[in-house]
Amino acid sequence: MDRGAFEEIDHTADLGLDLEGPTPEAILEAAQRGLIQLLLDGTSDLAADQIRAVAISAPDLPELLKRWCERVYGLLENEGFVALESEVESADPRACKAILHGSMPPRDRVASASELKGVTYHQLAFEPVDDGWRARVIFDV
């Protein structure tokens, strides 16, 4: 299946992602990969030997994207869990379910990550387009 893709947004003070994909699920998966890339340098040496189940809901897709990113970051901040890949079973905002595959590297590896203050509503978007889906999310760092 076609994976979603992400591109970093250049922003003076903050970080952001432009996302595109064939399905809403692919968008969320791309957001997870993009977020981790924004926060941590070079994770190719980490083995995805841990999993976390995610079940979240939101009133709409943009809010779902926000909460998804908050969950991925929250696992990093609170548990030191680095999500390396994700399988989103359903991106239905009423009941989004996913599995995160990741790693628990040493504490100093996590500490060196960029710190997120928030997943902002600034230009937050998640919508269908002619050939799939696109989204944008900006993070306050």
Binding site: E8, L76, A111, S114, E115, V141
Partner: protein
């Protein structure tokens, strides 16, 4: 990028004329050189958008270190009428009460050669946790203790031996905003706050050992406790995950209600509620909790710094003499009395990346400093100079008692990392005479001096505009970063 009409009304003041949905004009404090940078992103458009806030009075203001934020620009100041105006969480920012604390000492540069500075920095790096997920500076708090911090701020720390009463006198608001209301703090925010007291954070937060490199006003510097070549310590940090969560929680609560308030805002991130609405009061109550958390945070960190200096240098507190010069915030919303169109009124002053700058004689300036004006602490970029300034009467007339807060970014993090590629950043810092202890090189690359404007240019603009004046220049010797 939308064109924003600008008119230069004074050498260092530019006005955005009131047009369309703007309720007041915009005013930008900048030199011609800094304005060229400012025009490079969307910050002027944001100044214009802020001018549409309900109840805004005077001007939508921008300091010379302004850059693009979300909703409000960073470096923005806006005052809204207490009775009829709005409060906007975006006008404070995620890092509620991000601020700066400066402590002086009895040491001078001769007391800290590199052979002592290195081990001191190593121990500070351990004693003051930094980086993502940092915790453990003090034991994990219980819920009741955290509630006490939210209501009492720095005083909680002082009563437990993390400092003294003298520290409270030299902290904005005595280290505690009244009317903090933990009822409006979410369980998630409480969870994030339990283990982060006394931690530095990451990004542009830092702890620096500095020397007083230059004094512009001997008398004022003397009153502030500063002397040439003296060793001082500067801490830049805020309310950590606790404050970030509060901002997000209340943005979520306020955003869906805009139609109910009859608000039409040009940018959703400007989401605002009437100050006197349930949502407005709830946000302010929670924001004050975050402000108090941040003051307590910086108070505990200073205590850790004092302990570490004493332990590493083998000296006691009297010989160290590490007294607090001042602690001031630069992300906050406060009820203050200001004169608007010739009439004194109570307004809600939003400072997002802007520092309070009260002049000589103001009753809220500590007694010891009142003749000279409130100390203003302006950090520069990593490895670069910082400034201690003093408030001037012009601040009350022109900027609701506010001035700049720092260097302001001129380069995105992506650009900064690209520009840093292939360079030995720690060697470059060492060549500047600065030792660095950091959790990782990513942050160092993002925070290199070339990513920022020159803070000297920024403070000079505010001096030329009669808002604040330089008292001392500080240069770093060692930096701890998350």
């Amino acid at each position: 990028m939308a064109h924003v009409e600008l008119e230069r009304v004074e050498p260092y003041v530019w006005e955005i004329p009131r047009r369309g949905d703007m309720r007041v004009p915009g005013r930008v404090f900048a030199s011609e050189e800094l304005m060229a940078d400012i025009r490079g992103d969307q910050s002027l458009e944001q100044v214009r958008n802020v001018a549409a806030l309900p109840g805004i009075v005077g001007w939508s203001l921008a300091m010379p270190d302004i850059h693009w934020g979300y909703g409000f620009p960073i470096g923005g100041v806006a005052a809204t009428d207490r009775a009829t105006g709005a409060v906007s969480p975006g006008g404070v920012g995620y890092d509620i009460n991000c601020g700066v604390r400066l402590a002086r000492s009895e040491l001078d540069t001769g007391d800290l050669p590199d052979a002592r500075l290195g081990p001191l920095l190593d121990r500070l790096f351990e004693a003051v946790p930094s980086g993502v997920g940092a915790s453990g500076a003090i034991r994990k708090l219980g819920r009741a203790e955290l509630l006490d911090i939210l209501r009492r701020g720095s005083r909680w720390a002082v009563e437990r031996g993390f400092g003294s009463e003298a520290d409270l006198d030299r902290t904005e608001e005595g280290g505690c905003l009244a009317e903090a209301d933990p009822e409006h703090v979410s369980a998630r925010a409480m969870e994030r706050g339990l283990s982060q007291v006394g931690t530095l954070g990451s990004g542009n937060h830092f702890l620096e050992i500095q020397r007083v490199a230059r004094i512009f006003d001997d008398d004022c510097a003397g009153v502030y406790g500063l002397a040439q070549d003296q060793i001082v310590v500067m801490i830049h940090s805020g309310s950590r995950g606790f404050g970030y969560q509060i901002c997000d929680d209340h943005l979520q609560r306020i955003r869906p209600r805009l139609d109910d308030y009859g608000y039409r805002l040009p940018d959703v991130q400007l989401a605002a509620a009437p100050i006197e609405s349930a949502e407005g009061r709830a946000y302010l109550g929670a924001m004050r909790c975050a402000a108090n958390y941040a003051w307590c945070n910086r108070q505990v960190m200073l205590h850790k710094v004092r302990e570490t200096f004493q332990a590493v240098l083998g000296i006691g507190p009297r010989e160290l003499g590490m007294g607090l010069v001042y602690d001031v915030c630069h992300n906050i919303a406060k009820m203050e009395r200001h004169t608007v169109a010739g009439r004194e009124r109570e307004v809600c002053v939003h400072r997002k990346g802007a520092t309070r700058a009260f002049p000589p004689g103001h009753p809220e300036v500590p007694d010891a400093y009142r003749r000279w004006g409130q100390p203003i602490l302006i950090p520069g970029s990593m490895g670069n100079y910082s400034f201690v300034c003093a408030g001037l009467a012009g601040a009350m007339e022109r900027t609701f008692g506010s001035t700049c807060h720092g260097a302001g970014r001129r380069m995105s993090r992506t650009q900064a990392k690209k520009a840093s590629r292939g360079r030995d950043l720690l060697r470059e810092m060492a060549d500047r005479g600065v030792m660095v202890r950091a959790t990782g090189m990513r942050t160092v690359a993002e925070e290199m001096p070339h990513a920022y404007k020159d803070v000297a240019d920024v403070v000079e603009v505010m001096e030329a505009a009669g808002v604040s004046r330089r008292v001392a220049e500080l240069r770093p010797l060692g930096v701890v970063k998350g």
